[in-house]
């Protein structure tokens, strides 16, 4: 009886203690996540504008409006084009560089530093540098093009070129990050596998790659794919610095930023937020499934 009482007492103590320690975090969780997201969902059903005295409930009209909004649709297409350009290139180049660097012994860390440098640098500042490099008259890229007889290209103000240009900058920033993830994957492949494959007659580097490296890197590759997809989907900084959405270069987050914080159309911006969040959450669910899987592999 006494023991039971004691156990009861201890359980009660643990309840108080646990919640007391987690209290600040729980409070912030409610204030910074649960309430704001509920607010966004409710607001997406209204036509509220910041500073307006009243608002109406408009049901799902904000969402149907988005489907007819030329700017939103363009931002949607641009974002997907951007992802479609950045994703494969950053994965293949990241993997290729990782394989080459992995085979180096003495120079490995130098290459690692060089390729990783763009990941840590402030993208806004570097975007300005790219603006200069790609300048139609002053930049070396167009100087090179005109000197070999190609007409100068307005990489940033020509609607045809602007998204591919932004993707090259995105690729430049992302490739080193993916390289490091692939390097981690490569180091976890046991050397014996290659030796065994050699006995089986796999000799050339391509043979080794197809039979060992690629299948063993499967989980890493999937994981890098989803992570890069999330990063690319959130493209914002380069657009805000280089184009401010001009020349038809709006991306999803920039359109959202304009509607919410420049035009203050909160109801409509909330609907766009939910569209953005929907994609991010789907990708994140896939990502966490992959992390669980990856734990089994390693």
């Amino acid at each position: 009886m006494l023991k039971l009482n004691q156990a009861n007492h201890q359980a009660k103590n643990e309840n108080i203690l646990g919640w007391a320690l987690a209290l600040p975090a729980s409070f912030l969780l409610v204030m910074l996540y649960l309430l704001p997201i509920t607010w966004v969902i409710l607001m997406s059903l209204t036509n509220y504008e910041l500073g307006a005295i009243s608002f109406d409930w408009v049901g799902l009209r904000n969402f149907s409006k988005a489907l007819e909004d030329e700017v939103f649709l363009r931002s949607f297409r641009n974002t997907f084009l951007y992802v479609a350009l950045v994703l494969p290139s950053s994965i293949f180049l990241g993997l290729g560089i990782a394989i080459l660097i992995h085979a180096r012994k003495r120079t490995r860390s130098i290459y690692e530093v060089i390729y990783f440098l763009p990941v840590t640098s402030t993208l806004i500042a570097m975007a300005t540098v790219f603006q200069f490099l790609l300048h139609p008259k002053l930049g070396p890229v167009n100087y090179l093009l005109t000197s070999i007889g190609i007409e100068a290209i307005s990489f940033i103000s020509d609607p045809q070129w602007v998204i591919p240009t932004l993707s090259v900058i995105g690729l430049w920033q992302l490739v080193g990050f993916n390289m490091i993830l692939f390097l981690a994957g490569l180091s976890s492949i046991p050397e014996e596998l290659y030796e065994a494959a050699e006995l089986d007659g796999a000799n050339g580097p391509i043979d080794r790659f197809i039979r060992i490296t690629w299948p063993m890197l499967g989980p890493t590759t999937l994981f890098v794919m989803v992570t890069s997809c999330i990063t690319a989907f959130k493209v914002f900084d380069t657009v805000a610095t280089l184009t401010q959405g001009k020349s038809g270069s709006e991306v999803l987050l920039y359109a959202l930023y304009l509607e919410g914080f420049q035009y203050f159309k909160m109801g409509y911006a909330a609907a766009l937020t939910l569209v953005f969040l929907f994609f991010i959450l789907i990708l994140s669910i896939v990502q966490s499934r992959l992390i669980e899987k990856k734990v089994h592999y390693v």
Partner: protein, 276 residues
Amino acid sequence: MKINSSLMHAASHCVLIIGALFMLMPFIWMLCTAFKPPQEIFEASLWPFPKNFYGFQHFNEVIKSAPIGKYMLNGVIVCAGILFVQLLVAIPAAYALAKINFTGREFLFICILGALSVPIQATSLPLYIAMSASNLLNTYFAQMLPFFLSMFAIFLLRQNFKSFPDEIIHAARLDGMNELEIVWRVVTPSAIPAITAFAIFSLVAHWNDLYWPLIVISSTELAPPPLGMLLFASAESGANYGALMAGATLITTPMVLAFLIARRRFIQGITMTSFR
């Protein structure tokens, strides 16, 4: 066979060096242009290095027209404040989730996992409305508040604390230590490597963040480096690329230097983001 392998070796170096040049090119041009006289900048060429050294005149120009030092200071204040509160909040919560068996623990952990992938862009509208209603816009506090709770820190440290031996905690309790002392003086020191990695991740992420400062800060007095750079770039109308490149150099230098000094920890800390 031998010749073949050294040929492969040379070829792989060639590819890596070409790639490395592409990665470094923006940095090289930025630095060189910052030291070029204006007339050389206006003659486009493929040769990045200045023919006549222009000294620090572009840099002087930048420092006169934009409070770069102030931007850096703002960045330091905001990043340090965010990191401090993040750890203050996350460490006790992570300890509770790892070591204390309380009702609702599972529920709280699932909520945290759910919020882990919610980016600032998803909550920025209501946070902005609430801050504007309570006159908090254009303050350091507004820049920091949304990031005070790091789900990632809780998640990471919970994993870390879980492997901490229960016996030591029990012994500390018998010694008369209270639970807060146990958290801060017994368990926390054991997680220093994880905390360091998280600190680097947090500092880099918030030092380079543009989205949120762009929304809540409109005065140059409070702008962190990325927003400062944006303001400076839009103020430099025309093509004063010498000054722009000098500004970009000043803005990028602290992070790049920190990275070069502690590159192992940086790579570890930043690639951790992929596991959030």
